[in-house]
Symmetry: C2
Subunit: 328 residues, 2 copies
Amino acid sequence: MATIREVAKEAGVSVATVSRVMNGSGYAHEDTRKVVMAAVEKLNYKPNEVARSLYNRKSKLVGLILPDITNPFFPEMARGVEDYLQQFGYRLIFGNSDEKRDKEIEYIDTFLQNNVVGMIASTSEEANENFDNLEIPVVLLDRTAEKLPAVYSDQKTGGRLAARVLLDRGSTNIVLIRGPVEIKPVYERYTAALEELTQAKVNVQVMDSSLTLQGGQSCVRQLFEQYPNTDGIIACNDIVAAAALQEILKRGIRIPEDIQLIGYDDIAFTALLHPPLSTIRQPAYEMGAQAAEMLIRKINQEKIAETHKKLPVSFVERQTTRRKVEKP
Amino acid sequence: MATIREVAKEAGVSVATVSRVMNGSGYAHEDTRKVVMAAVEKLNYKPNEVARSLYNRKSKLVGLILPDITNPFFPEMARGVEDYLQQFGYRLIFGNSDEKRDKEIEYIDTFLQNNVVGMIASTSEEANENFDNLEIPVVLLDRTAEKLPAVYSDQKTGGRLAARVLLDRGSTNIVLIRGPVEIKPVYERYTAALEELTQAKVNVQVMDSSLTLQGGQSCVRQLFEQYPNTDGIIACNDIVAAAALQEILKRGIRIPEDIQLIGYDDIAFTALLHPPLSTIRQPAYEMGAQAAEMLIRKINQEKIAETHKKLPVSFVERQTTRRKVEKP
DNA sequence: ATGAAAGCGCTAACAT
DNA sequence: ATGTTAGCGCTTTCAT
């Protein structure tokens, strides 16, 4: 790798001049600019970002912390972030936290040690304090906190919507599968759904599940033993919904005739399920992109109109819910 | 962020001493070691990785290039890489290439500018030359090249296996869906399957598809129009297989009685499909982990027994293939 | 318009 | 056993 020194020598100028033309800062005669660029070209010079970062006290790196990219909801977000940042020459240092506080802290620390310009994170509630007195901008993604800017989706409406859908389409014995209560967005959608359900005069049962395949499967197996006449299930996410769907099919229960099922997230494969899964869509890619946009705004010290950006969710009607019965 | 200077001052020693105790290099009296550590503790000192990296000419960063983490096969690998590297204090700079050469090059360049210690990449064939005269170790993942160490899986056996499965279970009008020919592992599994199929006296048709959902869907729609009496489909990956499954169900074709279907990869959601998809499993997580292990070996200049590590694939028998007919 | 030189935070000779 | 100092590659005053 060529250094600025070698370029300077090649061009017969000083390193300061090379630096100036590279950065378009300060003066540089058109002629010398050309000479320098020729040398840059010839030596295929690429500035050492580490050295720049050391001097400037900030790199072109952005730290990204996500719970687990093995859950398809998150890669979607990650791509939103990456694709947006990429245009501005920022790169991503990435880490999965598994919702573990110490992993988050570890990543935050090392990101800082690497002079990241900013961070985007989906962190657990309790870890937020770790972001408290950082000098660099942080934006929360899919999570919120009072003091930190955030991009997230409307969980409350999402939860309510899911409940409304089943209600409007005639389910009366509904099981609401609650995800881990520590994960705020998941808890919020649950609360909202429960509220909506409770207001209706309908049988509601709550069951717990993790957000994973295994968790969903074991939850759902019990579900039908405990509540055999269930005619509606609201799952905490699409993965769990998929597990439920499988169990429903296995038991020969007709869907959506005998039972309705709705998921949450609208990850890609839900459309491929059989029957295709009705679900509440979160605009994951868009959320990632907007978080990235907000971060860049922060980095550039631009004014930000709304620091808490709540994106809308929507009901994606597929075939695990019935057609809505119009009132006459 | 505290600097080494401040720690030195706090401890009443020189920066060199602090550096020595931090790195466990050179001498340091036990007493002063304690004093220094106390100061480190007090100021919550974390060495600036950028400065270390500048001096050492190498960071604790590893570059990872994957085609697209939106395809569930890759996050699995990514976690394998991350989880393994993490134990050794390495962090990941990450980029999706979308199989585009210029994106790969761009990422390689910026990774280099950031003094990465090494790189792991699933790159397109033609981009390999970009790795040619790098001073840092590179290991290819899921892809291969002669001059570069690599961890990948046995595509040839995988492709053959897929063909064998359908053959042994009685399919005689088989459509082989070929993925993009530029992607070598995908092409290899195709060739192997085709070879096996051709040797058997069986009708074989080849169709093309991209590796995505949309690609799969449009391919599969045509498939049944062109070859209505197909009784076996070998898909280039699980996503396309899922699309095929959906089309099969939509057309009311019985599976596996009337038609058999086999995917490739064994990504998580295949088990959730209905019926659960039979597929060829690649040990994605393991591949990632082993690539990471090999990279670390390289970084540490250890001898490496085999630089081309081919991991075995296996047939995961689920319900889109029939029970094998044992010969009497 | 250009160059010399200091300094970003750290490590490793080298000196003591 | 510890301190002084040069230097990693860059940017930016400050001279000229």
